[in-house]
């Protein structure tokens, strides 16, 4: 156990050091010196990975809060806290990454007062801002509980359902809008990825990844923090994941056929290979795994299917935002070491913050706690008063 711990610590420190150095480079020498971006290729991995994938990886938050609080599937309640934590951390990190990518990061607040409702980016900016606030509020009970602040806790719990609804609406909007961003460049994108239904693809894949990430992080928490794994809950998520992946696969095939670009998927070439890597990881492999009951019922099987889905849709978003645009603009882009270093630092920082939160905050409440909390949320005031009375 000991040497492994040191290894991870060393890796972590190394990533942090490289990230800090790249940060200094970015903010003292500018984007030109710290990235491989150019006039021909103005968006790199800080947008492709940190923002597009980051927001997708944080989609578990709205998927699961909707499942538990709106659809009232109580079994899922035990894993809701770590999922909200991941989502909250995810959005904070996305905003952090934006500070690196924006040419003038100190103007990041401008959309607040300078409106352009015709701009998808404006809509995304607003939704992300509001949703990060919603997530902070959804997450706050965990902190408030830890410090036993009863008053604010009551307030947050009272508005929880409207908050959840708002969160789901905002997520639906900006998850799909990240796809809408690319609708304006039909001529610049390789036809395997440009589609008029990009917003729908981005939304459905966000749900798939939200489910997969929930499976992934619950498994990890179980392994590394010795927490009890709710296998039945994860299996259920696995089944929903099959349905969502199936829907995505149908949409994808129909879309390729409708646009008459089906033949492109067998035409040898750089884009085709990346297409097949994407489709294999995101759809074929996980569906093949999850459709077997033996795999689905095994924690390890679920875990690897989830990992595959996550990697597959990361490839998908990188393909949309890099591979497809490379083909249209005729240039090759590969990130500079400093771009990779910043991204790696942000990911490592996210893992570290998750670890710290799990250690110091009541992330996995005892069954009893979660039941009363659930009761407090779900039941109308009248019934609750009655319950208390009955308890006398």
């Amino acid at each position: 156990m000991r040497p492994r711990l040191t290894f991870w610590k060393l890796t972590f420190l190394f990533l942090m050091a490289a990230g800090v150095y790249a940060t200094v480079l970015r903010f003292t020498r500018g984007l030109g010196a710290s990235t491989n971006l150019s006039d021909q290729f103005p968006w790199g991995i800080w947008i492709s990975f940190d923002v597009l994938c980051g927001v997708m990886l944080a989609a578990g938050g709205f998927t699961l809060t909707a499942t538990v609080h709106i659809f009232n599937i109580k079994r899922m309640h035990s894993i809701i806290r770590p999922t909200i934590l991941t989502a909250f951390l995810g959005y904070v990190l996305v905003c952090l990454a934006l500070m690196y990518d924006l040419g003038k990061p100190y103007n990041i607040w401008h959309p607040l007062i300078m409106w352009n409702p015709h701009s998808v980016m404006f809509e995304v900016a607003y939704c992300v801002m509001l949703y990060t606030t919603v997530l902070a509020l959804e997450f706050s009970p965990i902190v408030l509980e830890r410090f036993k602040l009863e008053k604010p806790l009551k307030v947050v719990r009272a508005i929880l359902i409207p908050l959840v609804i708002l969160g789901v609406l905002l997520s639906t909007l900006h998850q799909s809008s990240l796809g809408t961003l690319f609708l304006i460049v039909p001529e610049k994108m390789y036809p395997l990825w440009y589609s008029p239904i990009l917003p729908l693809f981005f939304f459905v894949s966000a749900i798939a990844v939200g489910l997969a990430m929930t499976i992934f992080e619950s498994s990890l928490s179980a392994k590394h923090f010795g927490l009890h794994l709710e296998l039945s809950v994860l299996q259920e998520l696995g089944r929903v994941l099959i349905v969502v992946l199936g829907m995505y696969a149908i949409l994808r095939v129909e879309d390729l056929a409708n646009r008459g670009v089906f033949r492109l998927i067998f035409q040898p070439g750089y884009q085709t290979y990346l297409f097949w890597i994407e489709v294999s990881l995101a759809l074929i492999l996980p569906l093949a795994l999850l459709l077997q009951r033996r795999v689905r019922n095994h924690p390890q099987g679920l875990y690897w299917a989830a990992v595959s889905v996550v990697l597959g849709f990361i490839t998908n978003r990188m393909n949309v935002s890099i591979t497809a645009l490379e083909a249209g603009t005729g240039v090759r882009y590969f990130p500079k070491w400093s771009e990779l270093a910043v991204t790696a630092m942000i990911i490592a920082g996210g893992f570290a913050m998750f670890g710290i939160a799990v250690k110091y905050l009541p992330m996995f409440p005892k069954e009893a706690v979660s039941e009363t909390e659930l009761g407090a949320n779900a039941l109308p005031a009248l019934a609750r008063a009655g319950l208390e009375h009955a308890g006398d």
Partner: protein, 258 residues
Amino acid sequence: MSKALLYDSTMCIGCKQCEQACAEQNKLPYDDNIAGEQFQSEHKFTAVLTRGDKFMRRLCMNCQEPACASVCPVGAIKKTALGPVTYDASKCMGCRYCMVACPFSVPKYEWGKLAPKVRKCTMCPDRVATGKQTACAEICPTGATKFGDRDALLAEAQQRIHDNPDKYVNHVYGMSEVGGTSVFLLSSVPFETFGYRTDISKDPMPMLTYRVLSHIPDFVPLGGMLLGGIWWITHRRDEVALAEALERENREKRGGKQ
């Protein structure tokens, strides 16, 4: 009255005086090296391209419905009624969506600076506002670059093709591309020779995203209603169960007292 530029490449002699005038107007450096550069950049807003004995200008097309302006989240880029597509650096936050979105890949960025600006031809908005021609049109010795009212210039361009059908490619570039632009080009060789795509959409690009965005005002109240409704229905069962339990308990209590 909206203004425009007409560039007739058959009249161009490749003297590059427009490049120089543009540099002066926009306070950009200009020397022989820069004159040799065959592309637009953050220090060169217009470039006269040479292919054999043919010339062609590249510059911002100042589209009628510019993609760059529609995507800018802070409204730093604007289409003015007079024609120029202007840029306000103090609003810009540097997201570079305008660069991605422009169908002609016109906007360039000051990658080397710590407070970088987007750079492109803005059709001399200050001059145009005071009734003057753009700097490039004013200096042009042959009239290859001509400034004027958009409608009149378009008619003139069509007339020139009509009068000399053998001399020109039968197309006024900019008349219908992306819904029309404020820069018209005439050429004797295919526009593709100089990197101008002719397979480009004839509809304004902003429609592509606006079609989706315009559904948001409907989506929010409907979605909210739907989610609230599902919540109400799924939790109704709990309520009923609880009420029944309470009833039973009360009855038992009452029963105990009697």
